[in-house]
């Protein structure tokens, strides 16, 4: 009998939601608004590169990308299922959502692993 994955996926959703809640506001504010708009001095390429290259930073960034992606996947899947009543597409929706999260995480992981 297949063990249902729902408790595991819900845990990813929960932890991802907590990571996003605690860290995304400040990161989005700096990276998406303050630095591009020039409100605050953005770190230079060399500084940022050295910061990111540190092994702990790589791990931090991987978690920062992948867990919130799975948070979105789980939440969006249920929103489509309930909100738009797309019951007949439930398997497709699940594959698209978790698949996208997986691909995004894999891309981040690959980039962080191979960064030199």
């Amino acid at each position: 009998m297949a063990r249902p994955l729902t408790p595991f996926l819900w845990t990813l959703f929960s932890v991802g939601g907590t990571v996003a809640a605690l860290l995304y506001p400040v990161h989005l504010f700096l990276t998406g608004l303050a630095f591009p708009a020039g409100w605050l001095p953005a770190p230079g390429y060399a500084t940022l590169h050295d910061l990111v290259a540190h092994p702990l930073a790589r791990l931090y960034l991987f978690v920062l990308v992948s867990l919130p992606l799975f948070h979105w996947a789980h939440r969006f899947r249920y929103t489509l299922y309930d909100g738009l009543q797309l019951k007949h597409l439930t398997a497709l929706i699940a594959v698209l959502c978790y698949g996208t999260a997986f691909i995004g995480s894999a891309m981040a992981g690959y980039t962080l692993w191979t960064l030199r």
């Binding site: 990161h27 591009p36 708009a37 605050l40 969006f76 909100g83 981040a108």
Partner: protein, 138 residues
């Protein structure tokens, strides 16, 4: 209710109203709920921005500069602003709901909700300050 009672789930004379696909517009609470759930799209948006940022960083200074220019373009800035509002909305609703999901008992007594919520906001403030410090000190 006797053990042998048999209730037919389908009864032709009982009236069943179909739930409209627009059910979430029928009350402010429901709409607020769906907006809260859709805040996850803003979360995904920023995750994608982060992936793109890392890839640009890995490719070298020119790619990184081009990506910075893209982030500074009016359309992306506008999207980021909207996403920022939704991400904050996510954080606030998340922390406010924390005590419902997490019941902490100390010495048999339940820790008050306000303490749980307050601790979450405190952690949020401290972590945000730490990240800002690291990224701004140059």
């Amino acid at each position: 209710m006797s053990a042998g009672a048999h209730y037919t789930p389908y009864h032709p004379k009982w009236y069943r109203r179909r739930v409209s696909v627009w059910w979430w517009l029928e009350s402010r609470s429901y709409t607020g709920f769906v907006l809260r759930e859709l805040s996850s799209v803003a979360v995904a948006f920023f995750a994608v921005v982060l992936v793109a940022l890392l890839r640009a960083l890995a490719r070298g200074p020119e790619a990184y500069a081009r990506f910075q220019a893209l982030l500074a373009s009016p359309l992306v800035l506008a999207l980021s602003a909207v996403a920022f509002l939704f991400v904050v909305f996510h954080a606030v609703t998340w922390f406010n709901l924390a005590p419902t999901a997490m019941v902490v008992r100390l010495r048999g007594k339940r820790v008050p909700d306000a303490v749980i919520v307050g601790s979450n906001y405190l952690a949020w403030a401290l972590l945000s300050a730490a990240v800002a410090f690291i990224l701004l000190k140059g």
